[in-house]
Subunit: 224 residues, 2 copies
């Protein structure tokens, strides 16, 4: 049945297997894509034979590791009953600072690096998984909030996808690409808070419906 992408991963794993994957994950953060099966076996105090029995090959180990990390950050969908401008603002700031914390974490950087490195040659398996549990998961969590806010008349937009992508851009800016390229950018907790607040204010300025500004939102391109 082809089991499209096998996103679930992380279930039906022995405790021992989780330990092994955690070791692989730590090694991945330290060594990047050049970790060796021998090193993983040594770090996890298991034999290479076991690695191959459990995960098939190096690719399988990497995939399982990425899925395992993904399954750890899965969050409960937010249940939000009533929403007003303060709670919307707080919610957006929460999303923004969560996202900034994630993309600036050593783990996320390492995972994105190997997924990007392998997206060039091999099948894009890892890239799809990382994307699905990163950007796409964020969109799935944020869009209902945006749409609820629109229903309440707090936001105005035609397409939730477009609005989300603007929010994404205002939050991430150049942070992720700079970190991935090894720039020595340091994000303190305080800086993340300020950046999240700025991005939220800017997003509300662009998509907020509480007054008569509508620049850059629904106006169609003049002619063509």
């Amino acid at each position: 049945m082809q089991a499209s992408l096998e996103i679930d991963g992380g279930e039906e794993l022995t405790e021992r297997q989780k330990d092994v994957l955690n070791a692989a994950l730590r090694l991945l953060v330290e060594e990047g894509d050049r970790l060796t099966m021998t090193a993983v076996a040594r770090r996890a105090s298991c034999s290479k034979e076991t690695l191959y029995k459990w995960f098939g090959d190096r690719d399988g180990l990497l995939t399982a590791t990425v899925q395992w990390q993904a399954s750890k950050v899965r969050v409960a969908p937010i249940d939000r009953a009533r929403i007003d401008l303060p709670s919307l603002t707080a919610s957006l700031e929460g999303f923004a600072s969560d996202w900034l914390s994630v993309i600036s974490s050593e783990t996320s950087i390492a995972l994105n690096r190997v997924a990007i490195a392998r997206a060039g040659s091999d099948g894009h398996g890892l890239g799809a998984i990382v994307l699905e549990n990163g950007r796409m998961a964020l969109a799935r969590r944020l869009k209902p909030v945006l749409e609820a806010a629109r229903d309440k008349g707090l936001l105005a937009f035609d397409d939730a996808e477009t609005a989300f992508r603007s929010f994404f851009g205002l939050v991430a800016r150049d942070v992720q690409i700079r970190l991935l390229l090894g720039d020595g950018l340091k994000l303190t907790e305080a800086q993340i808070g300020r950046d999240a607040a700025l991005a939220t204010r800017q997003f509300l300025a662009l998509y907020g419906a509480n007054d008569n500004r509508d620049e850059g939102r629904r106006r169609k391109p003049p002619s063509s």
Copy 2:
């Protein structure tokens, strides 16, 4: 004298050497980080001995290739005498669509992929070069425009760097990370034009000084 980073590259190269680097570049786009010295030699119709004589080792070849590509995209600094809102808008749209074209090109994707892959383990040489000729070069070209517009009263901001990063985010959004991760995102010329226009409108909405809105720009965070 340590020659910090040796950014210039591309000068003092034989025509033949440029041919070799172009071959390496094409191969890098096709094969990604797993190109072999043998393959480069075969593609460039030169001997491996020559490759090692000219570039030292595999790392040197990769670095020279990236610098060579960087030296090709260097553009003349814009000379802009008088500036008004229409010309500022056109200029911003130009920057935006140029940047979208660059980051969605096969060459840029391939180069960023190998630089990111190698930023994990080795020294961040390639990452620094890519960053310097990508994001940083864009900032150097755009900031004078922003500041000239501020002098004319068309824009309002305290920090050109912050304004630039907002513009960067509004333009790039999730495009680069998705492409690097192998998402099948296709950017047509028309779509790039629309996205550039939208980003420009949104940027002007946030940082334009032609009316009384000031959300998310100079208002300081309430307390902390």
